[in-house]
């Protein structure tokens, strides 16, 4: 079954910013799905529409076969949201926040108390249950948002940059936790992140969104393979009749004076040049042939620097 289907989703904000352009996406039940994209790409807008915090301009959202507009209760009850920014009532306690959230989903107090205790304990917040949310540290607030999103036991959990501003140790324990609820409880997870390492270690499938468009939707392995290679175009000093057969590099001849080479991360340019020199090929100049995906990742990585050094 599909946990989430988005059809022709469009969003234009008041003032004219086009945040989503014809987004189509499906996420399978049980998947751990990463949504990547630079700042302002439209990730939070997409999540906002799925979770009813943003009104869509056009399109359809289906959560576990429930159309969000027609079977609103079922669709919303199957979904849990961890938003990008803290949105607690500053004066409520940790326990009140989780209990109230359960109440909004129609869960009676007695059951809500059991669930609240369970998830607060799992996230290491039980000792803090009487603390007012305003007094929590950033990391505790992030964990509280996760407990709050799980109290109605949704089948689909969406997290918008859950580990932003969280230290390495806590980040790893959050990863552990998310992996566990995905594997043991079968909760489908969609998360956005600016940390490639996070997407790499958690997500089975990844979509990349840029300027409101999904420009890539594939499994993590093939994405990483594509990202770990660089394409270069070499200009040759002398025209070349025939490419030598015994090259270890993946070389393509574009024209008599131009070659294209694919270099993996573990290979070096020095090795390439010595191999070409041995074959009697002289290179006069070279340029990096960048594709859109690489450009995008460069920007993603740049964004990463403000946060931490967690780069794959």
């Amino acid at each position: 079954m599909k946990a989430l289907t988005l059809e022709h989703l469009n969003k234009t904000y008041k003032g004219g910013v086009v945040a989503l352009r014809d987004v189509n996406l499906t996420v399978e039940e049980g998947d751990f799905f990463g949504l990547l994209g630079p700042n302002g790409a439209g990730k939070s807008t997409m999540i906002g529409i799925i979770s009813s915090l943003v009104t869509k301009t056009a399109g359809r959202v289906v959560v576990f076969d429930h159309d969000l507009d027609r079977h609103t209760w079922e669709a919303k009850a199957s979904l849990g949201l961890v938003p990008q920014e803290f949105n607690f009532n500053n004066f409520e306690t940790v326990e009140q926040i989780v209990l109230n959230q359960a109440g909004y989903y129609g869960i009676r107090r007695r059951l809500a108390r059991q669930r609240a205790e369970r998830y607060l304990r799992e996230l290491g917040l039980w000792e803090k249950r009487r603390a007012v949310s305003r007094t929590l540290s950033g990391g505790m607030k992030r964990r509280l948002m996760i407990a709050r999103a799980l109290v109605h036991e949704p089948r689909l959990l969406i997290l918008d940059e859950p580990t932003a501003g969280v230290d390495i140790e806590l980040r790893r324990s959050m990863w552990e936790f998310l992996r566990r609820i995905n594997q043991e409880y079968g909760v489908t997870i969609i998360l956005t992140t600016h940390y490639l390492e996070e997407a790499e270690s958690l997500c089975r499938n990844i979509a990349i969104i840029d300027e409101g468009r999904i420009i890539e939707n594939t499994d993590t392995q093939s994405l990483l393979t594509r990202l770990s290679t660089h394409d270069f175009v070499l200009d040759l000093k002398h025209p070349l009749e025939q490419l030598p057969a015994k090259l270890t590099f993946n070389v393509r001849q574009l024209s008599p004076r131009q070659l294209e080479v694919e270099i993996h991360k573990h290979q070096t340019l020095t090795a390439l040049f010595s191999e070409l020199a041995q074959a009697g090929i002289e290179v006069s100049s070279m340029k990096n042939k960048s594709n859109r995906l690489e450009e995008l990742f460069l920007r993603l990585l740049q964004g990463d620097r403000d946060g931490s050094s967690a780069v794959a």
């Binding site: 609103t72 949201l81 009532n89 109230n100 109440g103 129609g106 869960i107």
Partner: protein
């Protein structure tokens, strides 16, 4: 099943709202008790005897219903406007918006918060007034229904104000420039029969006048106006404001991007 869940959601919002004003009782419940006690001391005990009877009642007996009503109106309104605006401002309204709680239940929940605070304040002010005079209630059903409907009406007003408010100033403009004048000129301190013709006619356009008078009728058995007209007006205003509030919620005005 659906109704059960909806009721739990409604109960959750109502409880949370009550917890909010009880937690900050020094800002919510204490001030009306003090202000209204001052009104009773100054206008009732000190100046009242010099004013003499109003509509055949001692002055303090005449103003007690109006002052209770004034407390109910301001507190119902300000509870919903501050609470809902606060929820928007701190963004925790999103907790409810992501949940399956239907819009009508969100509205009812916030209104119930305004009504419970309005009625609680009215009750406190009534207790305070008993230190100054003896009240006998002419008609309990009329008194209770009028105060309840008035509280609902002004809670709805506070809700709409909060939906449109973008900054803190916006939640005090209506109370200061509209609500307070309407209440003071709504026959709380005087009978409109004292007014010259023109001002008496003008007062008839003030909806608060009808509510204050209907409430006074419930307590004293005397009113400047026909109380059935008051019921009709209040019910009409409630329907209009409730429909408008639902329209705003369904459109997501001020709360959904």
């Amino acid at each position: 099943m659906y109704w059960q869940r909806t009721l739990v959601a409604l109960g959750t919002i109502a409880r949370k709202e009550a917890q909010r004003y009880l937690r900050i009782w020094v800002q919510t419940l204490l001030p009306p008790a003090i202000t209204m006690a001052l009104y009773f001391v100054i206008f009732g005990n000190l100046i009242g005897p010099r004013i003499g009877p109003m509509d055949g009642y001692t002055y303090i007996d005449f103003i007690v219903p109006g002052i209770i009503m004034m407390a109910v109106i301001t507190n119902s309104y300000s509870n919903v406007v501050s609470s809902f605006f606060g929820a928007k401002f701190q963004r925790h309204v999103e907790e409810i918006l992501v949940s399956p709680t239907p819009n009508a239940v969100i509205l009812l929940g916030y209104i119930s918060g305004g009504v419970s605070r309005g009625l609680l304040t009215g009750f406190i002010v009534t207790l305070v007034s008993m230190a100054f005079t003896r009240i006998e209630i002419h008609s309990i059903p009329i008194t209770v229904s009028v105060v309840f409907l008035t509280s609902v009406l002004f809670s709805l007003g506070g809700f709409i104000n909060a939906v449109f408010a973008r900054k803190f100033d916006d939640i005090s403009i209506v109370p200061v420039f509209i609500l307070t004048p309407l209440t003071y000129l709504g026959g709380v301190f005087y009978s409109i029969s004292l007014l010259p013709d023109f001002w008496r006619m003008a007062s008839m356009a003030n909806p608060v006048l009808y509510m204050v008078n209907a409430f006074r009728y419930g307590i004293l058995g005397a009113s400047d106006i026909n109380i059935w007209v008051a019921y009709g007006l209040v019910l009409m205003f409630i329907s209009i404001l409730a429909a408008f509030s639902m329209y705003l919620l369904n459109r997501g005005v001020g709360i959904r991007g």
